[in-house]
Structures are given as structure tokens and as C-alpha cells.
Symmetry: C2
Subunit: 147 residues, 2 copies
């Protein structure tokens, strides 16, 4: 089962498409078609990427979405951080009993352990850029230039 939403996957996919279409904008419908998803869903996620200054959009006819930075300056962590809110781990819904020596003190320590584990995950995501990913995508494509 899945912990986080699939928004990170959608965001990274969209960023890779925008990097592929160097400079030129894409519409939410074009991106949704590649994802086999829905334009509204895509716009919601791209809205978060825009709020994080990774991309920008223009309205009206001929509008669409474009990268705001070089693909070399956007990591998978940037995409993850823009669309996934909150923490990976959940804590107790009720605070533990203060009558128990363990329950009284475990809270902060557990939070610290979980945060450091999440930080390790985030640092690993930060090691790959959209440019890296796109390069590998194109390299793994047997017959180039079909679409």
C-alpha cells in the first residue's frame, strides 16, 4: 500500500515533459493525455509547482505551462516538497500516558528519529535532477523521435 499520494509522480512526470519541450509551453490537457489523467487534476498539481516557483503559467488562448528554471536546477526533492504536504510518519493520535516512564518521554525522541529518517529520504531525492532524469528517459528510448 502507498503512504504518500501519487502527486509526486505526476509532478515529476510533468516537469520531465516540460524539460523535454525545451522552453515551449504545454497545456494541462497535453500533460494529462500523457499521464492518462485529467486536466483539472494536472492543473491542481502544477499550481503547487508554480507556487514553489518551479514553473509559470499564462492564461487564455495559447497559454500553458513552462519551466521557470533550468532542469539542472530542479531536483526530485523540489517536486516532492512542492506537492506533498506534511510528514511521512504519523504519530499517536492521543498523547501517550504521562504515568508511564516510557510513554512520558518517548514522544520527542520518536519525532526526532522519524524526522531524521525523512531527511535521509529527502536528501536522496535531492541527488537527482529533472535534467538527469530526462537524459535517462531519452537514453532508454529505443527508437527516438516517434512523437
Amino acid at each position: 500500500m502507498a503512504g504518500l499520494s501519487s502527486r509526486s509522480a505526476v509532478a515529476i512526470h510533468a516537469l520531465a515533459m516540460l524539460a523535454h519541450r525545451r522552453g515551449g509551453p504545454l497545456t494541462s490537457t497535453e500533460i494529462a493525455d500523457s499521464l492518462d489523467s485529467n486536466p483539472v487534476l494536472v492543473r491542481r498539481i502544477l499550481g503547487h509547482l508554480r507556487d514553489a516557483h518551479l514553473i509559470w503559467s499564462t492564461e487564455g488562448r495559447g497559454g500553458g505551462w513552462s519551466l521557470a528554471r533550468s532542469p539542472r536546477d530542479i531536483t526530485l526533492y523540489d517536486a516532492y516538497a512542492a506537492v506533498e504536504e506534511g510528514q511521512v510518519f504519523s504519530r499517536h493520535t492521543h498523547p501517550p500516558s504521562r504515568a508511564c516512564e516510557v510513554g512520558r518521554n518517548i514522544g520527542d525522541l520518536l519525532d526526532a528519529e522519524f524526522r531524521s529518517a525523512e531527511r535521509a529520504l529527502e536528501e536522496q531525492l535531492g541527488r537527482t535532477t529533472i535534467a538527469d532524469l530526462l537524459q535517462r528517459i531519452l537514453a532508454s528510448d529505443g527508437e527516438p523521435r516517434i512523437h
Copy 2:
């Protein structure tokens, strides 16, 4: 918002209590009291820890739960792996379009990136043992031996 369930937190809390009660068994009701939670919920989670051979249980009167290993041989990763099934990240629910050069090839690459990020999280969790955690819990307790 939370990605994973709070089962890891409950499992680690329970393991720390069992380590604290060196050798002697605890009942699901005692553990649930410290968690301010429910005995049935605790038994469900402890059942997973037993399936992973971290603890064992005895039924009937005077029964309960005990550690099956030294707290130094149980890491936070062991608890996490026993109770959290599946992956942290979700992928697209529909497979991406095969007509798009990006969509056609991003799947496996994204899976590999996500798996390596999860592995970093898991390795970090594996660096702390229940014995480490319990020691810090007891150290941070101002007045020892209340419970």
C-alpha cells in the same frame, strides 16, 4: 498530513516498554494504557511484530507479550518493516501514455528513484536500536522510578 500509518509509532513504543520490563511479559491492556489506546489495536500490531519474530506471546491467564531478542538486536527499521506494508510512494494509477516519449519510459526510472529514496529512509531507521532509544528515554526522565 501523514503518509504512513501510526502503526510504526505504536510498535516502537510497545517494544520500548517491553525492553524496559526486562524479560517479564506485558499484557495488551497494560501497553494500551500507556498508549492511551485500545487493547485490540495493540494486539493487532503486536501480532505483526510476533510474525516478524521480534516478540512472542503466551495465551491464557498470566499470559502476555515478551521480547524474543535483545533490544540491541532490534532496530526501528525492524519495527517499521514488520507493521508497514507496501511502499512510501504511490505511482500513477493508470499507466502513462505509450504515445509520449516521456510517458513511455519514465515508469521504471521513477520506480528506481523512489525505491532508492525509501532505502535511504530505511537505512536511517536501521541505525537506531530499541536499546539506544530506551537508554535515551530513561536519560531524559528527570525523576527516575515513578512507575
